[in-house]
Amino acid sequence: MIPGKYYFSMDGRDDRYVGYFGNFGYTYAKKYDFTGSIRLDKTNLFGGSQESPNLPQWSLGAGWNITEEKFAKDIKFLDYLKLRVSYGWNGKIDKTAAPYLYGYPWTDKVTLLPYSAIQSAPNPSLTWEKTQTYNIGVDYAFLKNSISGTINVYRKNSDDCLVQLAVNGTYGFQNNRGTFNGGRLENTGLEFNINANIVNNKNFKWQTMFMYSTNKNMARGITKVSDNTSAYTTMAFYYRKPDRPLSYLAAVEFAGYDEVGLPKFIYDGEVTKVTDIANASTLIMDKLFKFVGQKDPKHFGSWTNRFIYKNFELSLGLYYKFGHKVIGDYPPTNLFTSSGFLQPTKMYTFLPELMLHSWKSEADAATAEMYNLNNKITNSSHTQLMDLIMSYGTQNVYNAGSIRVKNISLSYSVPKKALSKINLKDLRIVIEARNLGTIVKFAPFDPDNPPYSSSTYGALMFVTRNRPEFSAGLKIGLF
């Protein structure tokens, strides 16, 4: 047995699915569409003997092509108008969760016995995540097809959502995590896009495409709630708060610095000093945190404009996102050693600006961006609270709204006449720039790529993700 062979290879999986499906479509008098599909999926991922593998998935749809109706034919400017409705059910499974015992093979180095390390606890009650989708849509085109687009309104309700959660250590799960069917997720959304040919002359064309989406989601029916900082901040594997958006953001209300330059915060409506709290584990999380928004954008989409002048084409693509919040950069955690002094080794990724603007005297109270580093902190509760406030304090929550340039490209097509002489069908020169950054933003950094300099990984990611790309190309068509 070669250790590592199983663990690292992906080709050993044999996930089996059986699906039966049928589709039908029927159009009556060009006006009315009926569509339907049904599939019955089974999988071995839940174990062959279980009841859970069966999931009938189906959808039903109807369309009404209004422009085919007599009354609509009289409306001159209208080229196409169709109303669609659909309803469906579908399911999702999680490959990492299974209702049986499985483990990874390995060898005991001392006894040389093969053994299996359990990776998941069986969960016989695990079932498909079921999603119910309602959709109403309109497809339209008017003014000789110069304006066209679609509008969709949907509602998606997911039931038995598969979530990975922290499990009480008393249940003895591997890494104290497990996948469960827990809670419901309600999604409502509106999407529309408009494509318009604003100018359509022989020599000059201007096309614009605007897309907009909005989504509102809410996690419901969560009966277990964790009351720890993670449930409010990173949310990794913890029971999230119910009746909140999936990506809710909570923060500690920051209240300036005290007379020795350590942060103050609002706890239960009262201004509290970090040093007032002798034991942070006694804090009640609901009184410490307040909900300040969500991390996913409420409104987002893109706007693309193409200008074509003779053989030149200029294209400009913009992305926009609004209505969400982001956590800014923060200093390294655990800056103080147990003896209470600053650890120089922690400073390797420290932001120089923060150090420069740290609290030095009471005159800095209003402007300081960092607590007083010239302090002796021996109580680890104080360190924890300061680390929490510096990262998840309201002073570090920023409006993440932005408009960014997705791409700009300029191309030139060599005229056909010139090409025919050298026997080429098509020749195009393109120069393009991508990821040019934000043109509108509210945070002092790029909200999509927060620097997070206190972690080496975050800092590296910041550098690599934030680079604009430029390219030039030549496209040759031979035949």
């Binding site: 093979p105 001392v110 006894t111 093969p114 250590g169 008393t170 003895g172 799960f173 890494n175």
Partner: protein, 517 residues
């Protein structure tokens, strides 16, 4: 007509497909071992290796004994216990607030979690193994093994996290949750101490008939021997000395090997080299292989098993100090188990004595990439359990025979004279004290001292720098508190109260020092 034929054809094809489907789906996903046959469950129950994963069936506790007189910390050492080990520091000082460190990543307390991991895994194995019918005899043996691992985990839990077994109150004393179906996430209400002990005994008894008698080279696999040994310990802790004696006897009938330290330690080369060669595969004293908790003490158990000079010399007094500073040890455990003596056999300059035995003893295993961290159930404990039961029953000669058996193997040849009841004026209590002293010496560094302090109602003191911490017998703070985050997630899990305590602190002049927490 044609149409009908088509329909019939389609109908049949679908039928054929549907009948294949069952076969197709019954194959389990590949790339992992799915437990179906006894061979698969064998592999699950051989999961004791700690070199790769953070959990295994072999992991037990760590730092339980910091709360005893077997550990001494100076203030530097004490201060080094921070963050996820901050509770060790507070437990050592017998503070009221123990889990003072809180961090999103600090989500587990190893002593509790390791035992419940074993319990959960064994419970899952027990509920799934019904499908492994390919070899009924093997299946029964594996069921027995899972029950033994699980019972051992409960025995550790009940002694660490609950008041000691007391026949009069055990039915109402808070024990620990008994979880047989972890995947259903049952409520975590604490069963009574009595219920937990009854569960341990019934599990061990039902496992007994299906297990082989003695260990082979795979010493992590439970046997009849390990069932007797664990039962002996269980009954001893319950104060049922008749049953404890019976089981210790049964264990010793199967295996009674004791190493003669004179052959391990020749005294001519440094002790370190002489220990190389013993592995968990061939340790003749071993009854059931277990280790300390991985995340607490991975490489070495010696980081906190430290004695100050005075306590060390009181505990192992059999040595002669030469004028040149070298010592001649009559009790070879002084040298073998502690680092107080350097490789040149001279006393080192350290004022403390660090327990170094098991780490060095299993050097062979660590050279192979295995763990150096061992805390097995072993034969000396059975001798001492038998001796204690005999002493309590008034069989003084029998009790001393077992002490003699151990000492004659642990002392330098010729330096130990066999003890007789006459040496103790035929006094039962004095003999018992001698047995218990030998127990403490021999079982030092196995995370079992706290349980003895609890069951024997012993008050004790240990020092923190110049501060003396004095713990009265049966103080509520002798019980480990349950990790608050577990209670936070399941409020039905009740905490061990430690607010009222008789712990006192004295400065070097013997003046009581008030401690706020």
């Amino acid at each position: 007509m044609k149409k009908i034929l088509y329909f019939i054809a389609i109908f049949f094809i679908t039928g054929i497909l549907a009948s294949c489907e069952k076969e197709f789906l019954n194959s389990f996903p590949r790339g992992q071992v799915i437990a179906k046959t006894t061979a698969d469950f064998r592999k699950l129950l051989d999961f004791v290796d700690n070199s790769r994963y953070s959990y295994s069936l072999s992991l037990t506790t760590g730092y339980v004994d910091v709360m005893t007189d077997d550990c001494y910390m100076d203030s530097t050492k004490w201060n080094s216990y921070t963050t996820t080990r901050e509770h060790i520091k507070n437990l050592y000082a017998y503070k009221n607030s123990v889990f003072t460190y809180d961090s999103p990543s600090f989500t587990n307390e190893t002593n509790w979690n390791n035992q419940y991991y074993t319990i959960s895994l064994c419970s899952n194995i027990l509920s799934e193994i019904t499908i492994a019918t390919d070899n009924v005899e093997k299946q029964k043996q594996l069921i027995g093994e899972a029950r033994v691992h699980r019972a051992y985990a409960y025995l550790i839990l009940i002694n660490t996290f609950a008041v000691h077994y007391n026949e009069a109150t055990a039915a109402t004393d808070k024990g620990v949750p008994i979880i047989n179906n972890p995947t259903a996430l049952p409520p975590l209400d604490r069963k009574s101490v009595k219920e937990v002990y009854e569960f341990i005994i019934s599990e061990l008894e039902s496992a007994l008939p299906d297990l082989p008698d003695d260990v082979d080279q795979y010493k992590h696999r439970p046997t009849k021997l390990s069932v007797y040994a664990i039962l002996a310990r269980t009954y001893l802790y319950m104060g049922n000395y008749t049953k404890a004696l019976e089981n210790a006897n049964s264990a010793l009938q199967i295996r009674n090997y004791l190493y003669d330290y004179n052959t391990i330690y020749t005294g001519t080369v440094d002790y370190y080299n002489n220990l190389i060669g013993i592995s968990r595969m061939n340790d003749e004293e071993m009854i059931l292989w277990k280790t300390f908790a991985k995340s607490v003490v991975y490489t070495t158990a010696s980081t906190h098993y430290i004695l100050d000079t005075m306590t060390f010399n009181q505990l192992y007094p059999d040595f002669i100090k030469n004028p040149d500073g070298t010592t001649v040890n009559y009790d070879l455990r002084r040298t073998l188990k502690f680092n107080g003596i350097a490789s040149n056999r001279k006393m080192t300059a350290t004022s403390t004595f660090q327990f170094n035995f098991y780490n060095q003893r299993y050097k062979t295993d660590s050279n192979k990439g295995g763990t150096t961290c061992h805390n097995p159930v072993a034969t000396p404990e059975m001798y001492l359990t038998r001796a204690e039961c005999n002493a309590r029953a008034g069989n003084l000669q029998a009790a001393l025979d077992d002490v003699n058996a151990i000492c004659s193997k642990r002392y330098k040849t010729g330096s130990f004279t066999n003890l007789t009841p006459a040496n103790f004026q035929n006094n039962k209590d004095l003999v018992l004290d001698r047995v218990l002293l030998e127990r403490r010496r021999e079982l030092y560094g196995k995370d079992m001292r706290l349980y003895d302090l609890k069951r024997l109602n012993l008050p004790f003191t240990h020092k923190l720098g110049s501060l003396t911490i004095s713990v009265p017998a049966n103080d509520p703070r002798l019980i480990w508190p349950i990790f608050p985050k577990y209670i936070e997630m399941n409020s039905e899990l009740e905490q061990n109260e430690r607010e009222t305590s008789g712990v006192k602190y004295y400065d070097k002049n013997g003046v009581e020092v008030p401690i706020t927490d």
